[in-house]
């Protein structure tokens, strides 16, 4: 269970380096700011380059037309995205791809567009700390095949410009996953002002909107349960990339910024703050590896517990690192021109995305207590 084969590790480090050079070249601070300030859904040129590398259906099984790689490669994509903050719907489309993969064959019609980058998908599924069952805010009426959806959900990643939204909905006889298109009647997806300038979000309103069902009953439950864990893992990988960048920027500044005739990194108030960031970032990296290993080897009980621990820890790590970075940079960090605020915005908004840290911890405690009882 420890680690992965050398080959898998090689593939990961190769992808990491390909994405890192691509994003360094094509997601510079200037470019990111330019796209962020525009009305565009994202950086289309960059999206096309990412499509050429084949990132969109990396972890989708080959039987469904994907590359059949481990979900750990999707995590590598998001880690790179977190480091560079490109305006591109990577998190939403990777999560949607996982939901399709977990649904399997019934979702195969949506795969071709996902693969060639032409159809950007996003999803709305429950996360820890949210009401479930009858209290879930989106309901479905009608039965198998075609249903009608009603309800509202406040946050849909990249929702306003997606080709389709995969929606969890509560039908009278159980949960379903259905697809709606922004242009369908009864579907309203209005773009919101996002605290995170490099991520588009929308608000979803459904009023008796027609939708086709991808999965229902136990199949839907299984796919949702799995995707819920995987989306926490993928978000944490993104947070890891961003936190590492905050640490790198901070140490680099601490080495070069001179005050009192010395680089400020000689002062323990600064160097210890960097050391604290390092401990958190390394712990997050270890948890990402452990969670990815458990998911890849289908050790489901471990994967669920690790993902809950990871997502609470990664959220708090990124928030702490982004805030420390601002403090270490001093005055320059509270200007619009300096990139610190982009990471701070990402940090604060992802802290609560897919569930607050405390909700993930509550989940972990419940799982641990259940495991202890099962053992006794």
């Amino acid at each position: 269970m420890v680690g992965m084969t050398a080959t898998a590790g090689d593939v990961r480090s190769e992808l990491r380096s390909v994405l890192d050079s691509m994003l360094s070249a094509h997601a510079s601070s200037e470019r990111v700011r330019e796209v962020a300030a525009s009305p565009a859904w994202g950086d289309e040129q960059l999206w096309n380059r990412l499509t050429e590398v084949g990132v969109h259906a990396l972890s989708v099984p080959e039987a469904l037309g994907g590359a059949g790689e481990s979900i750990e490669l999707s995590a590598v994509v998001l880690e790179a995205a977190g480091a560079h903050l490109p305006v591109a719907p990577l998190l939403s489309s990777q999560v949607a791809a996982r939901l399709l993969a977990n649904i399997g064959e019934p979702a195969s019609a949506l795969l071709p567009g996902l693969l060639d980058g032409s159809s950007r998908l996003t999803s709305v599924i429950a996360h820890p700390g949210e009401p479930s069952g009858a209290r879930w805010p989106i309901t479905a009426t009608g039965s198998s095949g075609e249903v009608r959806l009603s309800g509202q959900y406040p946050i849909v990643l990249d929702g306003a410009d997606a080709a389709a939204v995969l929606v969890q909905a509560q039908a009278p006889d159980g949960v379903v996953v259905a697809v709606v298109k922004p242009t369908d009647t009864g579907v309203e997806l209005g773009r919101c002002d996002s605290l995170d300038l490099t991520r588009r979000i929308a608000r979803l309103s459904l009023a008796d909107a027609p939708a086709s069902v991808l999965a229902s009953g136990e199949a839907a439950e299984r796919a949702l349960e799995r995707t819920q864990v995987e989306q926490a893992y993928l978000l944490a990988a993104e947070q890891l990339g961003a936190a590492q960048r905050c640490l790198d920027m901070s140490t680099s500044y601490a080495k070069t910024r001179v005050q009192f005739g010395k680089p400020i990194g000689v002062f323990q108030a600064i160097s210890h703050s960097c050391a604290n960031m390092y401990v958190e970032v390394e712990a997050t990296r270890s948890l990402v590896e452990a969670t990815g290993g458990a998911l890849a080897s289908d050790d489901w009980d471990e994967a669920r517990q690790y993902a809950a621990a990871l997502e609470s820890f990664a959220s708090e790590t990124l928030l702490d690192c982004a805030q420390r970075m601002v403090q270490i940079h001093g005055g320059i960090a509270i200007t619009w021109e300096f990139d610190a605020h982009l990471y701070l915005r990402r940090a604060k908004s992802t802290e609560v995305l897919f569930g607050r840290p405390s909700a993930h911890r509550a989940e972990l405690l419940d799982l641990a207590l259940a495991a202890t009882e099962a053992k006794a």
Binding site: V2, G3, A6, T251, A254, K255, F260, K262, P263, G265, V266, F267, Q268, I270, S271, H272, C274, A275, N276, Y278, V279, E282, A283, R285, S286, L287, E289, A290, G293, Q305, Y306, A309, L310, S312, F313, S358, R361, A362, L364, L365, A368, L369, T372
Partner: protein, 400 residues
């Protein structure tokens, strides 16, 4: 090493996996004789005897190279070894410091010193204590002042050591002494091996924060140490302290992982027993400890997989060390809080939960961010050696 230093392992060849399991299992089965006694002296005597039998069976020092007198096991074999030992509840070597001074003797000792010291060290015939820290030289160890002056064939040592763990039970001390000019720092330090029975040497036990006596002050009043007991060259002792031997890093993880999983079970049991989980804030605190434990296990897994791949465990080691030392404190603070009213009892009270481990752990874990490198020194080390921030000597002076 050209010369064989220990007699018993002269013709050793590397063991196959099967040989290791067969031989060690047979030994553990035949030596399953832990006494029921609670008397610390009797327990220690048994551990020394058991360790001697382990050596005589050719099963001591799993990670040391064969030519140094060890088994030269591969990392994966070391894991097998550690697992078998753990399952059999086998005792660990009674002197942890043996694994500090042993490699230094193997690496820097003369043939005579290796012949004299290694076998009794591995058999636990002789236990060792470490004389490094001084009242005025803690985190700043290179400023140590215990003086050793050469006088013919001996050094005359005067000064004081402190925080010497197990000084009362030890037969020998390995000590750092000042042979260079005062203020010569790392360049004027010599490494000496000296018997605890030396005339002029006085051990005064210190009671620790938990009420026990695990460490001591050691005073030197004109103690004579033969020059033959110097390890390495005069004024070259700092380098000797940097010695390591073999690769033992993987096995600690296996032991720690089991310990951490047990800790979680104990903490959850305590929380359930005292009803603490009905309080949402305490639930959250318990959950935070569960997250911490996952971090420790994940860090360990990551280090281990690198070691198994033949790489260095990497800088995550220093991150994990700091995390672990602060975790022990968080754990015991919470254990006491979950205990509720019972937390006012000392660890010795029969009504304390879990045989007093939370009260005792609370007091003793304050040392985890002090002993063997304070948390502050660990942060300095991460900042300088891992992150490459400017070094200590570029820092503002201390105002002397």
């Amino acid at each position: 090493m050209s010369e064989q230093t220990t007699s018993q392992q002269a013709t050793r060849k590397p063991m196959t996996d099967d040989e290791l399991v067969e031989k060690l299992s047979a030994f553990l089965a035949a030596n399953d004789d832990r006494p029921k006694t609670k008397d610390p002296k009797e327990k220690l005597a048994w551990r020394r005897d058991w360790t001697g039998r382990l050596y005589d069976a050719g099963l001591a020092a799993p990670n040391w190279p064969i030519e140094a007198g060890g088994l030269g096991l591969s990392t994966s074999q070391q894991l097998v070894y550690a697992d078998l030992m753990r399952r059999a509840h086998a005792p660990s070597h009674p002197s942890a410091n043996s694994w500090v001074v042993g490699p230094a003797i193997v690496e820097h000792g003369t043939p005579e010193q290796r012949e004299r010291f290694i076998r009794p060290l591995l058999r636990a015939d002789e236990l060792w204590c470490q004389g490094f820290s001084e009242p005025e030289a803690g985190s700043d160890l290179p400023s140590l002042r215990t003086r050793a002056v050469r006088d013919g064939d001996v050094y005359r040592v005067n000064g004081q050591k402190i925080w010497t763990t197990q000084a009362m039970n030890s037969d020998w001390m390995f000590a750092l002494v000042r042979t260079g000019e005062p203020g010569s720092g790392r360049a004027g330090i010599t490494y000496l091996l000296l018997p605890m029975t030396s005339p002029g040497l006085d051990v005064r036990p210190l009671r620790d924060i938990g009420g026990g006596a695990h460490f001591a002050e050691v005073f030197f009043d004109n103690v004579e140490v033969p020059v033959a007991n110097r390890l390495g060259a005069e004024n070259d002792g700092w380098k000797v302290t940097r010695t390591t031997l073999g690769h033992e890093r993987g096995t600690a993880f296996v032991v720690n992982q089991m310990r951490y999983r047990r800790t979680v079970e104990e903490l959850l049991t305590l929380a359930q027993r005292t009803g603490a989980l009905e309080d949402p804030l305490l639930r959250e605190e318990v959950a935070k400890i569960l997250v911490d434990v996952r971090v420790l296990i994940a860090n360990g897994s990551r280090m281990l997989s690198r070691v198994l791949a033949g790489e260095e465990p990497g800088p995550v080691t220093s991150a994990n060390r700091l995390f672990a030392s602060e975790f022990e404190q968080r754990l015991n603070v919470l254990g006491q809080r979950l205990s509720g009213d019972a937390a006012v009892l000392n660890s010795t009270d029969p009504n304390a939960f879990d045989r007093g481990r939370w009260a005792y752990g609370y007091m003793m874990s304050r040392a985890t961010t002090i002993g063997a490198g304070t948390a502050e020194i660990q942060r300095n080390t991460i900042a300088e050696r891992v992150l490459g921030l400017p070094r200590m000597d570029q820092r503002p002076s201390g105002g002397k």
